[in-house]
């Protein structure tokens, strides 16, 4: 097997191409397409987190939608409240017969609280959840199954609490963010630049992290958890920190996605979308940060193209993609490129 894990500093070629394309996009694309691209880039941030935990940590999470949803709902709560006249409550609550805002909605009126919640809540939930499982030395397939149960429980809970979460339809109809009108000219491209900047920051940060001793230890724990233990390290904190970082990235991703898409709903965060997130990374290449971004873009582009015209075809395609990539292309597209270069 060639080197699976080490980022190759001799060929930092793909990231620069992606960056150039990302910078050129606002000047070449229509507002509609730019919005679409921004959504996919937001998903790319989540995909980066999966490279960290799955590719380098050997931790398969089938529940990233939960953290994506926590970030998405946090910003949606804020936007719902921001657009509301004084003293009123969101219309869906009125329809469900509620008369007052739930107490946990109230702090989201503050932009600072909202941003803090987007950053902290998914991270904290991710850390506590993964610690509870990893510190008892449960991992691998067991962990993947538990994360899937988490995705199911979370999305079911949101659907069933129609009166405070918007239920199956989710939350939508947003008009402004932090005082800026979403429909006003220039907002779309400004949000695009914000997304691109965050994506770049996440990329650079993870690249550094993976090259650091932390990254080495994470890969070491993936390949030989007991060997690491018998060298005097406790593998649990490395795995928990990696999982928490991936959860944070998923939360940021969800918040940005909700901004661009104008909606957050259980259909975007449940069991099926959560596992679809893994396929982005599987296709792009689970060991490669740039590959994961490309994977997120490609799969979502394909989904957009195929699923609107032939929705039933998309599921067949998705299923076939899972089987194909995992059996024949375990290193994804990134592996293909590296294979040719070598």
């Amino acid at each position: 097997m060639p080197d699976l894990s080490r980022l190759n500093p001799a060929k930092p070629f793909l990231p620069w191409v992606l960056l150039a394309l990302g910078i050129a996009a606002p000047f070449a694309l229509s507002a509609y397409d730019l919005n679409l691209l921004a959504r996919f880039m937001a998903m790319g941030i989540l995909a980066l987190g999966l490279v960290l935990i799955w590719g380098h940590g050997g931790i398969l999470s089938l529940g990233q939608g939960v953290f994506f949803g926590l970030g998405g709902y946090a910003i949606a709560l804020h936007m719902k409240l921001a657009d509301l006249p004084q003293g009123e409550i969101p219309d869906f609550m009125v329809w469900s017969g509620r008369e007052s805002l739930p107490f946990w909605w109230e702090p989201f009126a503050s932009p600072a609280f909202t941003i803090a919640a987007i950053l902290i809540v998914p991270t904290l939930v991710g850390a506590l959840f993964s610690w509870a499982v990893f510190h008892r030395r449960v991992g691998g397939t067991y962990f993947a199954l538990i994360t899937q149960a988490l995705a199911l429980a979370f999305s079911t809970l949101i659907i069933s609490r129609q009166d405070v979460t918007g239920g199956f339809n989710g939350l939508t109809d947003f008009y402004s963010i932090f005082g800026i009108g979403l429909a006003s000219p220039g907002t779309g491209s400004m949000l695009y630049w914000v997304t691109l900047a965050i994506l770049c920051a996440a990329f650079v940060g993870l690249r550094w992290l993976l090259a650091s001793r932390f990254g080495i230890l994470l890969r070491a724990a993936r390949d030989g958890e007991n060997r690491v233990r018998f060298l005097g390290y406790s593998p649990t904190p490395f795995k928990v920190v990696a999982f928490a970082i991936a959860a944070m990235l998923a939360g940021i991703s969800g918040a940005l996605f909700t901004l661009h898409a104008g909606v957050v709903s259980p259909a975007l965060i449940g069991v099926v979308p959560s596992i679809e997130m893994v396929v982005w990374v599987a296709i792009g290449g689970r060991y490669s940060l740039a590959g994961a971004i490309v994977g997120a873009l490609l799969v979502n582009l394909a989904r957009d193209a195929v699923s609107s015209a032939f929705p039933e075809l998309w599921l067949y395609l998705m299923g076939a993609l899972f089987i194909f990539v995992v059996t024949l292309l375990p290193r994804g597209l990134a592996g293909l490129i590296k294979g040719k270069a070598a």
Partner: protein
């Protein structure tokens, strides 16, 4: 309150039976191969549709009796196909197996949607299954009683098979030490295949039971398979006793929790319960002591 409690206890028992039927195959092949088939839920679905088709051809009680072997064989064949074409190739990569078999699950669900429609089909159960008993002021639907009975029979049959037959001996040998079993000339791959077919067949039976409870839809398996996964997590590696105990615990827990909270909260509590259980017994209900450590 008392009647409600007894009623939920009974519901819990039938839920536990379904969890058990769905989880037995998963646990058996996980014990042997350390892989989980994410398309296992679709074996339930397949069993349900096969039961529906059987009852279309042969209505009545005879239909139900016939549906059981039909569903078993159909699901076993599908399981065998998945095992021999896909899972065997990925046996050393358990996480990749999860993903590849999830792909199979998506394809099977969509195929069912295209073939039978998204709404689902209703099985017309014979009258003796649609009735109910009254015991101590509690209504016990016959269908649920039937499910508990079938689960008990399947469990008994499996126990006999594993403890008393040559196949069972081989399975236990491979379960205990794969390398050694292979070294003494046991055809490990055939044991894997047989167990996989058997487990899928049992899931097919669970599908027949689901068909008796409600409509068979393309994603009918999904609502039972995730609790079944939790049963496997809690049961302990490849142990039938552990799987049975954890299916009973989780089935009762889910049903009794619904006395106090609604279904969705009960689902969350189920997960919390499993995570708390891991804190106490990470090795599962039944721990198999092993000298091999590194996975």
């Amino acid at each position: 309150m008392d009647a409600l409690f007894l009623n939920q206890l009974f519901n819990g028992a039938s839920l536990a039976s379904l969890y058990l039927l769905a989880a037995l195959g998963l646990a058996l092949s996980f014990g042997l191969m350390r892989v989980i088939n994410m398309a296992h839920g679709e074996m339930l679905m397949l069993g349900g549709y096969l039961a529906w088709m059987t009852l279309l051809v042969v209505p009545g009680a005879l239909g139900i009796v016939l549906a059981i072997p039909v569903a078993f064989i159909g699901a076993a064949a599908m399981g065998g196909l998945i095992q021999s074409t896909l899972i065997r190739r990925l046996s050393a990569r358990p996480l990749d197996t999860l993903l590849a078999t999830w792909g199979v699950s998506l394809i099977l669900q969509q195929a069912a949607r295209d073939l039978f429609g998204a709404i689902g089909v209703e099985v017309r159960a014979p009258d003796w299954l649609t009735g109910s008993f009254m015991i101590a002021g509690v209504t016990l639907p016959s269908a649920r009683l039937f499910i508990i009975l079938i689960a008990a029979l399947v469990l008994g049959g499996l126990a006999l098979l594993l403890l008393k037959t040559r196949i069972g001996l081989l399975v236990r040998a491979v379960n205990q030490d794969r390398m050694m079993a292979s070294a003494v000339g046991i055809d490990v791959k055939r044991v894997d295949f047989t167990v996989f077919c058997l487990g899928s067949g049992v899931a097919g039976l669970a599908g027949v039971m689901l068909a008796l409870l409600g409509p068979v839809t393309p994603n009918v398996g999904q609502s039972y398979i995730i609790p079944a996964f939790l049963v496997v997590v809690m049961g302990g590696l490849g142990s039938i006793v552990g799987t049975t105990a954890s299916a009973i615990i989780l089935g009762l827990f889910a049903a009794l929790a619904q006395i106090f909270v609604d279904v969705s909260v009960a689902q969350m509590l189920l997960l919390v319960f499993v995570i708390l259980f891991i804190q106490v017994r990470p090795q599962g209900v039944i721990a198999v002591k092993s000298r091999q450590l590194d996975a």
